[in-house]
Symmetry: C2
Subunit: 304 residues, 2 copies
């Protein structure tokens, strides 16, 4: 805990300086930081009223009013009077304002690009991943949308790694589970039949937020395996989307049914299966992972 706090404080200090240096580079005499942020926010939300900006940027009402007035003087924005509510003064960019914003935006982009120039492609990707994950962890409700896509190179093994970590923590399964995960994903990679099988990754703003595998068990049976959703991506319907992708694929390929095996303790997963039409057909006890654990077999009949 202490080292965790220390690491975060170190980063906070570092990043404060880093952002400060970058801002100094892109700002010029046209506008200061507060004005740049304001102009950016107006451009993003226009038409927008002052109270919204005030809340979003966390600045004083009076200060905001004056800045906006200054923008109006410079011919960057207009303030008319609200129709529904005559107290409000919806702010809009003028053409001149749009131009100024465009220039600022471009300078800021190139300041960031300059920073990135030093990094190779993998490192750039790593950086985006790291920052996006951090943001999702710090602000779970960040408005980011996800897509379902095939795995990129390395992501199948990453699933093994992440599942091991997540379940080692929550349920105390250690090396034994890690070994099984590694073998399962390795076998999938080796034996993968693209016509009948699939792996799908939920991509949340570029980072792997969850994944699922569907393998061919023969006899018209598909098996859904290794479903997981990252903690930082919960409550976004990613589990459901992954399971639905499997079901659609299995249906399209003409499977008769999908089976899956899960642990009884994994409540969230079980709810997803129930929501998507699966039914628990048997329970059994495994001893692979040290302590005995109760497992369940579920299935979904695909009467297409």
């Amino acid at each position: 805990m202490d080292t965790t706090i220390e690491a975060i404080r170190t980063f906070n200090r570092f990043f404060t300086r880093h952002v400060g240096a970058m801002n100094a580079r892109f700002l010029d005499t046209d506008a200061n930081l507060a004005e740049a942020r304001l102009l950016f926010e107006i451009a993003r939300q226009e038409p927008v009223q002052a109270s919204t900006l005030q809340a979003d940027l966390g600045i004083d009402r009076g200060y905001l009013s004056r800045m906006t007035a200054r923008f109006e003087d410079r011919g960057w924005v207009t303030r008319d009077h609200g129709e529904a509510d005559a107290r409000t003064r919806p702010i809009r960019l003028t053409e001149a304002g749009r131009t100024v914003f465009g220039q600022m935006d471009e300078r800021q982009r190139s300041a960031v690009a300059h920073d990135l120039g030093r990094l190779g492609p993998v490192e750039q990707e790593d950086l985006v991943q790291a920052l996006t994950r951090a943001q999702l962890l710090l602000d779970p409700d960040a408005p980011m949308s996800f897509t379902i896509r095939p795995p990129r190179v390395g992501e199948v093994s990453q699933v093994a790694a992440r599942q091991s970590i997540l379940y080692a923590e929550s349920h105390g399964w250690g090396r034994a589970l890690e070994t099984v995960e590694a073998e399962t994903t390795a076998a999938f990679l080796r034996q993968f039949n693209p016509d009948r099988e699939g792996c799908w990754v939920a991509d949340l703003a570029g980072v792997m937020a969850g994944a699922v595998f569907l393998t061919d068990e023969g006899g018209g049976v598909a098996r859904l395996r290794l479903l997981h959703v990252e903690p930082f991506a919960r409550r976004r319907g990613i589990g459901d989307a992954l399971v639905r992708t499997c079901i659609d694929f299995a249906r399209e390929k003409g499977y008769d049914r999908i089976t899956l095996w899960t642990h009884t303790v994994l409540d969230a997963a079980r709810r997803i299966y129930t929501r998507n039409g699966f039914e628990c057909i048997s329970t059994d006890v495994h001893h692979e992972f040290g302590e005995p654990v109760q497992g369940e077999t579920w299935q979904l009949i695909l009467n297409s």
Copy 2:
């Protein structure tokens, strides 16, 4: 590239607000943000001269002088006169200053702790990983030290994932390499003999910065495998430290020699092997990864 820049700008905006909110929470009437940062920096570096602080914090000389004078008035610091250089005025904390700093530090810690409270253990760990990686990527010379340790749960598979990504990018080896990596690590986990084999991870401020495996080939021969160093951790001697760990282990266990197989294109790795006494004893061409690649077998005789 464009989405990369956009992702980073989004994070910058987010984090600026986040830090702002947190600072507002821990600051009180005793001191403002600049003063808190200054006091922190003095506490960290004392005795320290003004010019150092000025460079580190990036603030104006005059402003700094005045703040320091204010600190002296409040009895937080003393300024004597430098011995070697009489122009300088080394700044030191007084007991009172140390107390004030301690309180501020504690409030800041608890502000961070409050933020972390929402997160589970895995998420906290993920957050530290993400932030530390980001920092290392943005500031490759960040003064952080590494240690060599056994892998944590999930890290063996993570090695497979990272190697696949790194080499897919740099040398165009895709799924084929990924499959081999996954199988190799899975087999290691299954057959691991702790008395004769090992996996070591380089831990740079808590994140995996590289790894290496040593397996028993029988007949007094150990094989060094899967050496890699993360791009964000280069130029810190991590590769050498990992290889040396292998050699020490092999020597201790009474192996006669260590062999390894590597690609001819992997220059950095080859230099590490050379530096640590390995010699290339044969070359051969493999066809596993699509295009033919030239490989080399190296060995180190352990005459203990």
